[in-house]
């Protein structure tokens, strides 16, 4: 089989060099190729039988090899960025919760280790695209910073409603930690007594009653995996994957990051904004105000983000 490994790798390189996706970030490119394979599975099976491709090897094996090759490439490409993201976070606020029992450096190490495992999961990996975009564009620093300075509704929700007394910088770091951990919701695990088979958040997304039990069990289990990270933080991180309708009023950080993750998932960096057009963030938040219910966004937060983006020409 190893003789095909090289050919598979070359085939994946060929697909990734397509002009339509070659400039995309690796996570999006991986998704595009996987979607392509999934959509054209039957036709590809036929084509793979030709000597030009992989004659003599079962198509399912080739699909598996392609997926594996893509995953390896994506992880190799994205992991350094995520590690830099971890290094950029000031974990002092976590260290303070445990009164210095765990040093900030300790958190850098355990998060790096944890992310290496987490990123293997395709759905969790996919979520890192928006997280990396949020970090790269300094979106948290900008929006949280200006909101805290103005005491806008976002500040009110994050500080007063969620009852969080963190300072602006600490809050930004807290939100970054949530972004790192939110993909954990897609890890499948047995959660007795709720389920004896492996489940993740997708199984309970539409059942409010079971969802609460799931969140509770999941957070407690995670807290054991990462000593020094509270169950509340895990709970909030997992909730970042849920629409506002599934959340409580005090889950303000999750409602905020749910919006921001959607905003930055297919983030387009407009090199030049046409004259007469609104700025990208203002446009997006404005459009989403109309679609808030459809996507499950918190309309009040969207309104505020729209105002902040407009006032600051973001």
């Amino acid at each position: 089989m190893s003789q095909y490994q090289e050919k598979v790798s070359s085939f994946v390189s060929h697909l990734l060099s397509n002009p339509g996706i070659q400039n995309d970030c690796p996570i999006i490119a991986e998704q595009t190729v996987l979607n392509f394979i999934s959509t054209n599975r039957e036709k590809l099976k036929e084509n793979f039988k030709s000597p030009q491709f992989f004659a003599g090897v079962p198509a399912s094996t080739i699909f598996q090899m392609i997926a594996e090759d893509l995953r390896r490439r994506t992880i190799d490409s994205v992991l350094p960025d995520i590690e830099s993201m971890i290094e950029s976070i000031d974990f002092t606020f976590l260290s303070d919760i445990y009164k210095g029992k765990y040093s900030p450096d300790y958190y850098v190490q355990i998060f790096k280790k944890y992310i290496k495992e987490l990123i293997i999961n395709a759905e969790a990996r996919s979520g890192f695209n928006s997280s990396l975009n949020i970090i790269k564009s300094n979106a948290l620093e900008r929006y949280v910073g200006i909101s805290f300075a103005r005491h806008s509704p976002l500040y009110f929700e994050l500080v007063r409603v969620q009852r969080n007394n963190l300072h602006t910088e600490e809050y930004v770091n807290y939100l970054k930690v949530l972004l790192l951990l939110k993909g954990s919701a897609f890890i499948k695990e047995e959660l007795p007594p709720l389920s004896n088979s492996k489940v993740n958040i997708v199984n309970y997304k539409n059942d409010q009653r079971l969802l609460e039990q799931y969140l509770d069990l999941r957070s407690k289990k995670f807290a054991k995996i990462l000593p020094g990270v509270t169950a509340e933080i895990f709970d909030m991180a997992i909730k970042c994957n849920l629409p506002a309708t599934h959340l409580k009023p005090e889950d303000a950080s999750a409602r905020f990051l749910y919006i921001m993750s959607q905003r930055f998932q297919n983030y387009q960096d407009y090199k030049k904004i046409d004259r007469g057009a609104e700025t990208p963030d203002k446009s997006w938040f404005s459009i989403m105000r109309k679609n808030a219910k459809y996507y499950g966004f918190d309309k009040r937060l969207l309104e505020d983000l729209f105002m902040l983006a407009g006032d600051n020409k973001w």
């Binding site: 050919k7 085939f11 979607n35 392509f36 959509t39 387009q268 057009a277 404005s286 459009i287």
Partner: protein, 367 residues
């Protein structure tokens, strides 16, 4: 294509230069430049008019071959090219060059009629400014208004305005006597009266008439030469007369036995100053339309339409239109508001913005 672009750039350069030449031609008269320098301007004016006439012929032939001459002449401002080429060549710069080459350096009374006709024709010279319309595109690029729609509308309104002004100037020069020509006639009459007085009062001896005439005409600034019975009473001051006066700057008036050579420089300077004013009025008008109106048009119409069009056609383009509240009741902004508030939200929900590969992309894999 490269040759065509080179030619276009050459024509653009000529347009800029001809405007400078038009300005200098009048400026040189206002500032009393020497005849040598002004002759260079006469020659250069002729060369430019010749270039533009050739350009018009070439464009006409090129479009005629493709049966597009009417379209070129009517819709693509071929008429502007025409008006600012042949009439100038035959009625203005051509005759000026001819007179310069034949070496005539004074205008006799008989020639004065021709000169007056030429003065009317001189008003046509402002049609050179019409060529500025051709380079509005450049202004568009300078301040980022590359919309063909904005350029077209600016071009139309500028053409209408500039052409109206030019037509008015030509009509005025044809229908009304130049007030400065009247001054010139009055002066001639004044000298004729003096001559009559001299002749009437002292008819005893020729010498007395000469002395009397010298006394009367000696300190007249605009009298370059006075001849009585073919004898110079006041001769030309060579330096003053021929270094600064060309053929059209000296007017010869004959009256009885007298011949008066007037300097027309002062009158020409006043006329040239008026033409400079007209020149700058038109230039400022064209610039104002190009910079202010084009910008306004782009901001309130073409930019809005450009964004809506882009959003309708490109599935990944989702920027909203900036609505100017002052004009929100305009149809353009009503469309933009609908695009912002109804179309884009629906588009984002319905249109799959995920990129897709096709089987074709895969089949050219070489293995």
């Amino acid at each position: 294509m490269k040759k065509y672009k080179l030619l276009e750039n050459f024509i653009f350069l000529c347009i800029i230069l001809v405007l400078v030449q038009t300005f200098l031609e009048d400026f040189s008269v206002v500032r009393s430049w020497s005849v040598d320098k002004r002759n260079i301007l006469i020659i250069s004016g002729f060369v430019f008019d010749l270039i533009f006439s050739i350009e018009f012929v070439v464009r006409s032939i090129a479009n005629g071959v493709n049966r597009k001459f009417t379209d070129y002449f009517v819709n693509r401002r071929g008429w502007v090219d025409f008006l600012s080429s042949f009439p100038l060549l035959f009625l203005n710069s051509g005759p000026s060059l001819l007179i310069f080459l034949t070496g005539v350096n004074t205008v006799s009374l008989a020639g004065f009629g021709i000169m007056n006709a030429l003065k009317v024709v001189k008003a046509i010279r402002v049609t050179r400014i019409l060529r500025l319309i051709r380079i509005i595109k450049i202004f568009g690029k300078i301040h980022n208004t590359e919309s063909a729609m904005a350029q077209h509308h600016t071009s139309v309104i500028t053409t209408i305005s500039v052409f109206s002004i030019i037509l008015t100037l030509i009509m005025f020069s044809v229908l009304f006597v130049n007030p400065y020509s009247q001054i010139m006639n009055d002066k001639a009459d004044h000298y004729k009266k003096i001559a009559d007085t001299i002749l009437e009062t002292d008819q005893d001896t020729i010498l007395t008439v000469k002395e009397n005439a010298r006394l009367h005409f000696k300190n007249q600034k605009d009298l370059l030469r006075v001849v009585y019975n073919e004898e110079d009473l006041i001769p030309y001051n060579e330096e003053l007369a021929f270094e600064y006066h060309n053929f059209e700057d000296i007017l010869v008036v004959k009256h009885k036995n007298f011949e008066f050579h007037f300097s027309l420089l002062g009158i020409h300077a006043k006329t040239a100053f008026q033409q400079l004013q007209n020149f700058f009025i038109i230039i400022v008008l064209v610039l104002a339309f190009s910079f202010v109106y084009t910008r306004h048009f782009a901001q309130s119409i073409s930019d809005v339409m450009h964004i809506v069009n882009k959003g309708l056609r490109k599935k990944e383009y989702n920027l909203q239109v900036k609505i100017d509240e002052r004009y929100e009741d305009h149809a353009v902004y009503k469309i933009a508001r609908f695009y912002n508030e109804a179309y884009l939200p629906a588009k984002i929900k319905k249109v799959n913005t995920k990129k897709e590969l096709s089987l074709k992309d895969m089949m050219n894999f070489k293995g």
